[in-house]
Each structure stands twice: as structure tokens, then as C-alpha cells.
């Protein structure tokens, strides 16, 4: 593998680091010699006959004394000239423009560096999409992640036009290696995953299916997102396999019945769920898929299992993050390092472009359609019912944790709720929301105290999971409808630092403002005066 480094900065340090880490043969062009090297047919660059040419540019220096139009033309020329004489892959970095004295807040001027940066990188992406063997090395993603203050060395730049410090050099070399693997089609083929404390928190055999940490909140949501990423990877062509010490029928049941499990049993091409040593299972997976062991990537939260598989098989075994919240970054990095690939055939390239064009059409359609159409397309359904003892934990939790869509922010413990329910006039009503994509669970709560023909709404709240789903109007409308005995409704809004969202909610629903005192807005309503019901939700009221 022969790799040439050219650009408008001192590149020897990067070239040398790359040489050390990859074992490739490198050629490093002299400082700022890239134009001469490419235009001169007798240059050392052409004599080297590289398989890969990497052009690394400092943005401001590239732009110095000329326009972006000139820079674009130059890059196209570099590609065309070099590709006429070489059978190579042309790589160029995404450009970072920094410094500059133009007023930073005027985005819409041609001199603004952010504008230039966006335009330049859009251009590079278009070139990469249109042209064979043209690829962008995403330097900008490194800068986003690490910050250029941590990457650029100003004294080395001043001294010898060395832009990057030691750490930055390492990140760039790593990314270059990943990109080259992807271009060469050297991706791994199969991701072998453990289950307990890998796809969900906890041990299913001990906690039971409902006891594992996997859901819509907290750490459970992290595991859920992780599964969704794995599903995306599977859709991109990565094979998924399970290797877990568990009872197979219980695991199958978990995939079928758990409410928040994005991955399905059939997403996995092989399932080794048994009590055999994991290195045996991994070797069996490679054999049954008829691929080399080195095409497998094995992830497991337990060091013991990782060591065993690393020692006794050729599978790639990365370290596992110490904390579950690190899992999403871990899987993104793993995907880039092991599974990234490009489609190289003409057909595939066309398919990719068609896919992207369709995506853009979708986005456009969704943006121009009405919000109501979108909400209707979700097929929301709302179930309303009276509180029962087994729901107290969830209802109490809702009063404790809901801050934004909460009209009076009254906090209730379970015993307090239970006691309140003893009150003959008390109505504790919950709302549960589902849509086409999933079940949000119990997300609405209304506590009313009825005395003679008047009802006071003590509590009305909604979980932020369903804010913007337009369900609150249907909920309230249904509650009022199902209490025809109530002639007068009274409600209040108590302002807090967090609930300004609902400051005018009751006004929107046709309630009459009676008075304002100490941040409390007092309202009343007769049933007939209720308005603002949008009818976007199917509701079922359980008597």
C-alpha cells in the first residue's frame, strides 16, 4: 500500500505517524509543493505511483489572496490532473476556516468564514458523490469532537507550518486508516453481541423480562437507543449475532413481549444462547456463516469473556465502556472503525444516489405538509381511566417529576394519593397514549374534587414525552364530557420557573380568567364553553 501526502502545510509528522501505525510505504511532498508536484509530469510524486493521494489543507492558508471559486477550481484541477496519470484514490480533508477578522455575526455575507466553510464542504461532498475515487477525509468531525484549541498548535504553526499537535496527529492518522479500510472494502462482516448489560441493563435471568433496564427514560433509554443503532447497522448490511449465557426460550419471549425492545429475534442471523464457553460459540458462528473469524467483532461487558474470546479466536474484541451512557459513542466509533464501507459498483453508486434523492423528497414532503396531517398520520390513541391502587406508583411519580406541563405542580406521594382517593368527591383520572410507532404509557393525570355541582381541578399534568402530540385537549374534553353532573369547573395556574409553557392553556380552552394573585391565575368554566378540541386523537374512556 503506497500513500502520498501533499498539501499546504508541513506534513512529515503525519506521514511518519501513519507509516509507523500502518506499515504502508509513504511519500511526503515538500512544504506547499502540491501544485508543482501535480502539474509536473516528472515529479517525484508521479514516480512514487501511490495507491492513495491525501491532500491536506489548512483552510485559511488555502484561501489566502483568492476566492472560494478559485479554490474549488484548483481542487477539481488537482483531481483531474493527478487522476489522468495515476490509478489512485484521491483524498482531501473537509476544510476548516478559522480566525478572520470579519464581524462574526453577519452570516449572510460572502466574506463570512462560516458561510465559506459550509459552501466549501458542500462542494467537496458533491465532488465525492459525483466522482469516482474522490473521497473526503472528515477532519471537521475531529475538530467538532475535540475542539481546535486542543488540536492546533500555534507555536509549531508559526515556527514550521506544523498545524497539528501530537494528539491531533493521532486522530487524523486513525481516521485516515478507517477511511482507507472502508475504501478498500475491508470492513468486518458480523457483530456478535452479548445480551445482559450489553443490549439492556441487568441480568434477565435474575430480574425477569420486565425487570431489565430498557425503556423510554434514564439509562433504559440509552440501551434502547443502542439497539436502534444496531438495527440501523443491520439495515446497512452488518450481520448481527447473539452470544449469551441464558435460557433461549426466555430470551425469545423477551424479544417478543418487551414493550421497548427495538431489536427483534429475526434481526439476528445466528443466536448462540447456551452455557458453552463463548470462544467456542464465536468459532461456531464464523464456521456457520462461512466467514473468517477475523471478520467478527465481539462485544461483551464482562472482561473475562472478552479475554477468553480474544485469546482463543481471531475475532476483533474491543474494550467495553465502563458506563452505559458511553455506549452510544462506543458503537458509533466501532461502526466507523470496523464496519464502514463504500459501494463501489456503478449500480450501487446509482442506488445510493437515488436513495438520497428519495430521502430529500420525503423531507420536503414532510415539511410542506401540515402539522395536523403529520399528527394524524401518527394514529394517536388515548385511553382514559380511573386510578386504581396498582397505578399509584406511576401516578405519584408523574406528580413528582413533571415540571413543564403542570398547571399547579402539586407533589403527591403514594400514601397521599391513596388518602386523596378515599375522598368521595375525588376523581383521579389517568391518560395513556399510544401511536403507530409505540406506546408512551401513562402520561396524563387529572385530579378533580367534585362537590355538589362544582369540580375543582386540583392537578392537571402531562409528561414531556407527549408534548406537541396534541393530546391534552382531547383528554380534557373527554373528562368534561364524562362528568355531565358538573355545571361549574374551577381551575388554577400556579406559575413556577418551569411551567410557563402552560401559562395560557386554560385561556386557550375557553376558561374564563377570574383573577390573578401572587402568580396564581384563577379560572372557571361551564362545560358548554369548552373549546379548542382538535379531534386529532382517537379516545377511549374506561368507565
Amino acid at each position: 500500500m503506497k500513500v502520498a501526502f501533499l498539501g499546504n502545510m508541513t506534513l512529515e509528522l503525519i506521514a511518519r505517524e501513519f507509516e509507523l501505525r500502518s506499515g504502508a510505504t509513504v511519500y511526503c511532498s515538500g512544504y506547499n509543493q502540491y501544485q508543482l508536484e501535480v502539474l509536473n509530469p516528472d515529479s517525484k510524486y508521479y514516480a512514487f505511483e501511490p495507491d492513495f493521494s491525501l491532500f491536506l489543507f489548512d483552510g485559511p492558508k488555502l484561501l489566502e489572496g483568492r476566492s472560494l471559486t478559485d479554490v474549488k477550481a484548483e481542487i477539481e484541477r488537482l483531481y483531474e490532473e493527478s487522476s489522468r496519470r495515476l490509478k489512485h484514490q484521491f483524498l482531501v480533508n473537509s476544510l476548516h476556516f478559522y480566525g478572520g477578522s470579519a464581524w462574526p455575526f453577519y452570516y449572510n455575507t460572502p466574506e463570512n468564514l462560516k458561510q465559506i466553510q459550509a459552501e466549501a464542504n458542500l462542494f467537496l461532498n458533491e465532488q465525492a458523490a459525483r466522482r469516482e475515487h474522490f473521497y473526503v477525509l472528515d477532519l471537521l468531525s475531529i475538530i467538532e469532537r475535540r475542539g481546535y484549541e486542543n488540536l492546533y498548535d500555534d507555536s509549531l504553526w508559526a515556527y514550521g507550518k506544523v498545524r497539528f499537535n501530537k494528539k491531533a496527529t493521532g486522530y487524523i492518522v486513525e481516521k485516515l486508516r478507517h477511511l482507507m479500510r472502508a475504501i478498500n472494502g475491508q470492513a468486518q462482516k458480523c457483530l456478535v453481541v452479548d445480551l445482559d448489560n450489553t443490549l439492556w441493563g441487568g441480568v434477565l435471568g435474575e430480574e425477569g423480562i420486565q425487570g431489565i433496564t430498557l425503556g423510554l427514560e434514564g439509562v433504559g433509554e440509552v440501551y434502547r437507543q443502542l439497539q436502534m443503532r444496531l438495527k440501523e447497522m443491520k439495515n446497512q448490511g452488518v450481520l448481527l449475532a447473539i452470544c449469551s449465557k441464558n435460557d433461549e426460550s426466555q430470551i425469545q419471549e423477551a424479544f417478543q413481549t418487551h414493550l421497548h425492545m427495538p431489536l427483534q429475534w429475526d434481526d439476528f442471523i445466528l443466536k448462540k444462547i447456551n452455557w458453552l464457553p463463548k470462544d467456542e460459540n464465536v468459532r461456531a458462528i464464523a464456521r456457520e456463516l462461512n466467514i473468517g473469524e477475523e471478520s467478527l467483532v465481539f462485544i461483551d461487558d464482562q472482561a473475562f469473556e472478552r479475554e477468553l474470546v480474544k485469546k482463543n479466536t481471531m475475532a476483533v474484541v474491543p474494550e467495553f465502556p465502563a458506563k452505559p451512557e458511553q455506549l452510544l459513542e462506543f458503537i458509533a466509533d466501532l461502526n466507523e472503525a470496523c464496519f464502514a464501507k463504500f459501494n463501489t459498483t456503478e449500480d450501487d453508486r446509482m442506488k445510493t444516489r437515488q436513495y438520497f434523492e428519495n430521502q430529500q423528497r420525503e423531507v420536503l414532503r414532510r415539511e410542506t405538509g401540515s402539522v395536523e396531517d403529520f399528527v394524524r398520520s401518527l394514529e394517536l390513541s388515548l385511553t382514559i381511566g380511573q386510578a386504581s391502587k396498582n397505578l399509584l406508583p406511576r401516578l405519584s411519580q408523574l406528580t413528582q417529576k413533571t415540571n413543564q406541563f403542570n398547571l399547579t405542580t402539586k407533589r403527591y406521594t403514594e400514601p397521599e394519593l391513596e388518602q386523596l382517593m378515599q375522598n368521595p368527591g375525588a376523581q383521579v383520572l389517568w391518560g395513556r397514549v399510544k401511536d403507530r410507532l409505540g406506546d408512551y404509557g401513562i402520561v396524563l393525570l387529572l385530579i378533580g374534587l367534585i362537590s355538589e355541582e362544582t369540580a375543582v381541578i386540583d392537578t392537571f399534568l402531562m409528561s414531556c414525552r407527549v408534548i406537541g402530540r396534541f393530546v391534552e385537549d382531547e383528554f380534557l374534553a373527554q373528562v368534561i364530557e364524562h362528568h355531565p353532573e358538573v355545571k361549574h369547573w374551577r381551575a388554577a395556574y400556579d406559575r413556577t420557573p418551569k411551567n410557563s409553557l402552560v401559562e395560557n392553556l386554560y385561556d386557550q380552552f375557553g376558561f374564563t380568567l377570574e383573577g390573578v394573585e401572587n402568580g396564581r391565575k384563577q379560572y372557571r368554566l361551564t362545560a358548554a364553553a369548552f373549546r379548542g378540541r382538535r379531534g386529532l386523537v382517537n379516545a377511549f374512556y374506561e368507565e
Binding site: 508541513t10 509528522l13 507555536s155 514550521g160 501530537k166
Partner: protein, 75 residues
């Protein structure tokens, strides 16, 4: 500290290094390796080295003197 500096130089220059080693005495201490040495020292010792000081770090002794002054710790 002294050992760290010598280790860095040995790693970069790929030749034996001791307290007396200088840019003129070492075989592989060219301009690129000079920059590499400075880069490694900045990273490992977490030191700022101004552009106008870089040239002067042309021997183990001078590097040690600089590091001692910069970190106010005896080397």
C-alpha cells in the same frame, strides 16, 4: 524528568541518547525530528513552548534547562 526527556529523544531519534547529546552530535537530529521532539515534549510534559524558543532547544542540556525554568521544578 531527565529520564523522560532522554527517553523521548531516544524514541524519536532511534539512536543512543545521553546527557551530552546535541543536535550536532546526534546523527538523526534533523529539522523534522527536531519538531517531533518538541511536539512530544509539549504533549508529554504538558508544557507551552513559544515559537521563538524552539530553535534554542538543540541539546539535552538546553532542553532540561528550559523545562526546569518552565515548570519551576528541579529536573
Amino acid at each position: 524528568m531527565k529520564n523522560k526527556i532522554i527517553a523521548i529523544l531516544q524514541r524519536v531519534l532511534q539512536e543512543p541518547v545521553d546527557e551530552t547529546t546535541s543536535r550536532t552530535s546526534a546523527r538523526n537530529w534533523d529539522s523534522i525530528n527536531h519538531i517531533r521532539i518538541v511536539m512530544e515534549i509539549k504533549d508529554e510534559l504538558e508544557l507551552e513552548i513559544g515559537a521563538d524558543h524552539i530553535d534554542s532547544l538543540s541539546s539535552v542540556g538546553k532542553i532540561m534547562a528550559f523545562v526546569e525554568k518552565a515548570s519551576s521544578k528541579p529536573v
